[in-house]
């Protein structure tokens, strides 16, 4: 006999009980709207319905992002590894956390992170809100407990009043994760000389050499724009580009999907502000753009998962220089963070 559910009221009770688990805010306090200034050509970034930006949410997120007390006062804030002047990336291959130890990946730029369908180089985290917990709890980064952090900051101004104004509740893990995500979504890159050329019809924005570099970048020979495509110069997809045959230190996308065909695949990084974000690659193993281009020109190692778009090619010295010159045009001409 097929078992049937006991009674409708019971089912309703269960559903309602499960509803108690969710701790979403019951009310949003009166707050000023936040208008994101989008550069020409920039798509409108997706925003979760439950965490629309307001002026106070964004300001609160910014304050938290730069607050070392997220590591319980041990000298590390989000900005310690995501430097604003480096397009919110780090200057070293592997960043150092509260215990002086390093993690196993290079700190990504946060420019245009609002457009990423999933976070981290393996895409293991679905939302910016959920991402916040990772560095706070990671032993190699802040090694804190977000609940302890929230308890320490909640009574203090302006956290107390801003939190209430922004989310209608006191500062807690919910508010911390939502507010930081709101701030990160404001870090839109799209104000470079390349953007003037591409999206604002300014033919004089690039030199002849840089234009030649753009031609090389989009050529069938190099295939760069096959993956570094669209407004963010990234398809935000995962590829194995043949940097190494040894995946024991980092299986890449396979870590999340558990599929062997994803071994050694990493999310295509944006090339925006690339001149500011050295060293490069998931492990920071390439120090310069020359080295990166040398890698692609060499076609990478013979990994079974390597993308067919990566294959060896020959560039003249002039074209190689032009490609590098082009990559330098991707640097924003104004700060990513436009908040007061």
């Amino acid at each position: 006999m097929i078992p049937r559910r006991i009674t409708v009221p019971l089912l309703v009770a269960l559903v309602l009980h499960a509803g108690c688990r969710k701790d979403e805010p019951l009310a949003t306090a009166d707050d000023d709207a936040f208008t994101l200034e989008l550069p020409p050509g920039a798509p409108v970034p997706p925003v979760p319905e439950a965490n629309r930006p307001t002026a106070t949410r964004v300001a609160l997120g910014k304050r938290l992002f730069f607050d070392e007390r997220l590591s319980l006062g041990r000298g590390i804030s989000c900005a310690s590894c995501h430097h604003p002047v480096r397009a919110f990336s780090d200057t070293v291959a592997l960043s150092v956390g509260v215990h002086g130890t390093t993690g196993f990946r290079n700190a990504s730029s946060l420019a245009n992170v609002a457009y990423h369908p999933a976070l981290f180089r393996d895409g293991g985290v679905p939302t910016l809100e959920q991402q916040v917990l990772a560095p706070v709890h990671d032993e190699a980064e802040m090694d804190a407990d977000i609940n302890v952090v929230a308890t320490q900051l909640a009574g203090e101004e302006p956290y107390r009043s801003w939190s209430r104004k922004a989310y209608g509740r006191d500062l807690d893990p919910y508010v911390i994760t939502r507010a930081i995500a709101c701030y990160e979504r404001t870090l839109i890159s799209g104000w470079s000389r390349f953007d003037r050329f591409r999206y604002r019809n300014d033919a004089s924005a690039l030199t002849a050499e840089e234009l030649q570099g753009w031609t090389v970048f989009t050529s069938a020979e190099t295939n760069c724009s096959g993956c570094h495509s669209g407004f963010d110069l990234s398809d935000h997809d995962y590829h194995n580009i043949g940097t190494s045959l040894d995946h024991s230190a980092d299986p890449g996308r396979e870590r999340i999907t558990l599929r062997p065909e994803d071994r050694g695949k990493f999310k295509t990084p944006t090339l925006r502000n690339i001149a500011l974000t050295a060293p490069y690659m998931h492990d920071g193993s390439m120090a310069t753009l020359e080295r990166v281009i040398g890698h692609f020109a060499g076609g990478g190692v013979a990994d079974p998962n390597k993308s067919p778009l990566v294959h060896s090619f020959t560039l003249s010295d002039a074209d190689r220089q032009a490609l590098i010159a082009f990559l330098h045009t991707l640097t924003d001409e104004r700060p990513l963070d436009r908040l007061p």
Binding site: C20, R21, A27, P173, S248
Partner: protein
């Protein structure tokens, strides 16, 4: 000013408040309860965390932490089934953990549950859950890198020399998690719950069977550390299978 959000929020608040009056929707007539005890044993005998055991791989073993989620705990009768809870966290390191749970009176013949969290719960955004909820931040069960929960923490110390005495030199730590390692069990039961009465429902966890099911024996020398690494997933699958096999009803 747009008042719709406030109206909606108000309605939501009322809905949530009434929802939190647990049990009010259930007719108290015909109600009984079970006293679910999750009981650690070692080869059938009461488990003692101070004791050094000899495991099936001939290693000395001392267990220091056994903590796990049980999900969708359901009593099944021929014509009806009743979910006792959707997810709860048990730490049986120091002995049995007990929950008293209301249940319609009936003659139950099966206990069905999951070890770990089913995907819909496993992907919960932890910051939206009250910190002291079994799925909340204070559970200490969250894997931030995977945005999912650990299912079972099994930790302690071991020694490869079965004859040795004294301190155990090595540490083991098996943490399962990830959707693929979620396991469901169906255990036979003979449980009559009369109306107005509370009856015992013991669920034994034989910790000796975390490393063997008689046929498959896993040694800490093969794998002392597992934290969901895809590189050791085949061993992780064996760990999850052994762990689910360790649960039994009387």
């Amino acid at each position: 000013m747009n008042i719709r959000p406030f109206l909606l929020a108000g309605l939501a608040a009322v809905a949530l408040l009434s929802a939190c009056h647990k049990g009010s929707a259930v007719d108290p007539e015909g109600q009984g309860a079970v006293r679910l005890s999750v009981i650690p044993v070692w080869n059938g005998a009461p488990f003692d965390r101070m004791q050094v055991y000899l495991n099936a791989a001939d290693q000395r073993e001392q267990i220091q932490l056994v903590k796990f989620y049980l999900a969708r705990m359901t009593l099944v009768a021929p014509d009806v089934e009743h979910e006792l809870f959707d997810a709860d966290l048990f730490n049986i390191t120091n002995g049995p953990e007990t929950r008293i749970l209301p249940v319609p009176a009936g003659d139950y013949q099966q206990l069905r549950f999951g070890l770990g969290l089913p995907p819909d719960l496993n992907h919960t955004d932890i910051a939206t859950v009250p910190v002291n909820d079994p799925l909340g931040n204070n559970s200490g069960m969250y894997w931030t890198w995977a945005t999912m929960y650990r299912f079972l923490l099994f930790e302690g110390r071991f020694d490869n020399d079965p004859q040795a005495t004294g301190l155990l030199p090595f540490q083991f730590s098996w943490h399962t998690g990830l959707d693929t390692l979620y396991r469901e069990r169906d255990l036979p039961l003979a449980l009559e719950v009369p109306a107005g009465d509370t009856v015992d429902l013991p669920l034994y966890v034989d910790l000796a069977r975390f490393t063997t099911d008689g046929a498959d024996t896993l040694s800490f020398a093969d794998i002392a550390q597992f934290h969901g690494e895809v590189q050791s997933l085949p061993l992780g699958i064996r760990i999850a299978d052994l762990e689910q096999g360790a649960f039994c009803t009387p």
